[in-house]
């Protein structure tokens, strides 16, 4: 059997298996953009996107909610997990979930993990909490380690990108915003391919690119902020300095400033988000500091 035939056979088997797996599982209750109310017991999972979910009866499976609030009636209960992304949950309803309450990519889930204090859930984003400050300081250390890695591995690229941020901040922000929207939409389009196996590797590749762009971009923003606030303005000043000069110092000082701003409730999160968007924008704009054009344009020959 030739390699191509074998490959085709494997692909057919994989597609058949994935279709069988999808067909074999019990279909969930799904709502897209329309409020969902569970009034009678449901033996499967409930999934909702862009709409509120009211649970007035028993749900035996998981409940997955993206971008909508979750409310419980007196008889409402979930036997599985509640996974909520960008959703509001009343802390008093948490005991009605037999499984876990999972809120991906949210620092409050760390607080929940170590304290088991569900009252924290509703208030973490709005008031200052020493515990959350401690988590943010921990994350600052992680960022510091990542920043050191980039400063040692690619200082010139970092400097190139930092220069670009300081020369065209708004342009980087706009690219970051559009790129963020593009990643979300591309992820949704790749999700159409999940039943055909290729979707998951594509989603993983997209996630890796997005995460690397975010990390590199944030380190660039640290460098730009550090240089703006603490950079030497003249050669004489630079010569006089013994400590506060060089890429490493600028990056860690910028990180410290942004990290301290991040401690401020509400405003801190907003500033950090803007910095992330600028970072992603400049990472793409400068091709990770290489300053090479994304698209080659050929000019017509003069002859």
């Amino acid at each position: 059997m030739s390699g191509r035939v074998r490959l085709t056979a494997i692909a057919i088997v994989l597609v058949a298996l994935s279709i069988a797996a999808v067909a074999g599982s019990r279909p969930p209750v799904v709502s897209v953009g329309e409020p969902l109310r569970i009034t009678s017991p449901v033996g499967t999972s409930v999934e909702s996107i862009g709409a509120d979910v009211q649970i007035d009866s028993l749900v035996r499976g998981d409940v997955v909610v993206i971008g909508g609030s979750v409310r419980f009636g007196p008889q409402g209960r979930i036997e599985g997990d509640l996974v909520a992304l960008g959703s509001a949950i009343d802390a008093r309803d948490i005991p009605k979930v037999s499984g876990r309450v999972i809120r991906p990519f949210w620092i409050g889930s760390a607080a929940q993990k170590v304290t088991h204090d569900y009252d924290l859930l509703d208030t973490l984003d709005r008031r200052f909490s020493l515990l959350i400050a401690a988590f943010k300081l921990s994350m600052l250390l992680v960022w510091l380690a990542l920043a050191l890695l980039f400063v040692l591995a690619a200082p010139r690229a970092l400097r190139n990108s930092s220069l670009e941020v300081r020369a065209g901040l708004l342009h980087s922000l706009v690219i970051g915003l559009v790129a963020f929207t593009s990643v979300i939409l591309t992820a949704i389009v790749f999700s159409y391919l999940i039943p055909f196996m290729i979707g998951v590797p594509l989603l993983i590749a997209l996630a890796v690119v997005a995460v690397v762009a975010k990390i590199y971009g944030m380190v660039v923003v640290f460098h730009a902020v550090g240089t703006l606030l603490f950079g030497a303005r003249s050669r004489e000043e630079l010569d006089r300095r013994r400590v506060l000069k060089g890429d490493l110092a600028m990056v860690v000082l910028g990180l410290l400033v942004l990290g301290l701003i991040r401690m401020i409730p509400v405003i801190g999160g907003f500033v950090w988000m803007l910095a992330s968007l600028v970072g992603v924008g400049v990472a793409l704009q400068t091709r990770f500091g290489r300053r090479e054009p994304w698209f080659l344009s050929f000019e017509a020959s003069e002859n």
């Binding site: 999808v22 279909p27 799904v30 897209v32 953009g33 999972s45 996107i49 997955v64 997990d81 996974v83 991906p104 990519f105 620092i107 889930s109 760390a110 993990k113 170590v114 304290t115 020493l130 515990l131 401690a134 988590f135 943010k136 300081l137 921990s138 600052l140 250390l141 992680v142 400063v151 010139r156 220069l163 300081r166 020369a167 065209g168 342009h171 790129a179 929207t181 593009s182 939409l185 999700s191 999940i194 039943p195 703006l228 030497a232 050669r235 630079l238 300095r241 400590v243 506060l244 000069k245 890429d247 490493l248 110092a249 860690v252 000082l253 410290l256 793409l284 704009q285 054009p293 698209f295």
Partner: protein
């Protein structure tokens, strides 16, 4: 038309320096260029030039990095201890909260159901938005980067 000797001289002035003795036009051009070069060299005072981004950039101020890392660590440990949480457990919880976990798997697993349950209009909207946003992104990325000739803030 430029004589062949002039072309050769313009292509490699050092190899054809003898050409200057026979060609008045090239002699004048060479004299003008030398004068301009000397004048421009005289004009430049290196210390008065603006600070370039790479100047002093290679210095690695480890003292600053270590001091900030220590300060942040101490503050973090103190904050964890003040709320009665083990610093190590708190650090690990913070680290894992930012990483994709089981919740992300369940979210990704739910997307095909969302797509299957969406109306035809929603599918059209998703693909139209996908094309439109990526066209805008490509247009934005076509702009050249600013380069070193720009004075950063």
């Amino acid at each position: 038309m430029t004589p062949t000797g002039c072309d050769d001289y313009l292509a490699d002035p050092e190899a054809h320096s003898g050409h200057l003795e026979t060609c008045e036009a090239c002699r004048k051009a060479a004299a003008g260029l030398e004068a301009a070069a000397i004048e421009s060299r005289r004009d430049v005072v290196p210390s008065s030039l603006p600070l370039a981004p790479w100047e002093g950039a290679r210095q690695r101020s480890w003292a600053t990095a270590i001091a900030i890392a220590l300060g942040v660590s101490l503050l973090g440990v103190a904050a964890f201890m003040a709320v009665g949480v083990s610093p190590l457990a708190g650090f690990l919880a913070a680290l894992t909260s930012g990483m994709p976990g089981e919740g992300s798997g369940k979210l990704i697993g739910a997307i095909p159901s969302f797509l299957a349950g969406a109306s035809r209009g929603t599918h059209v909207l998703i693909f139209a938005a996908f094309v439109a946003v990526n066209v805008v992104l490509v247009a934005l990325l076509r702009r050249r980067t600013r380069g070193y000739d720009v004075r950063p803030r």
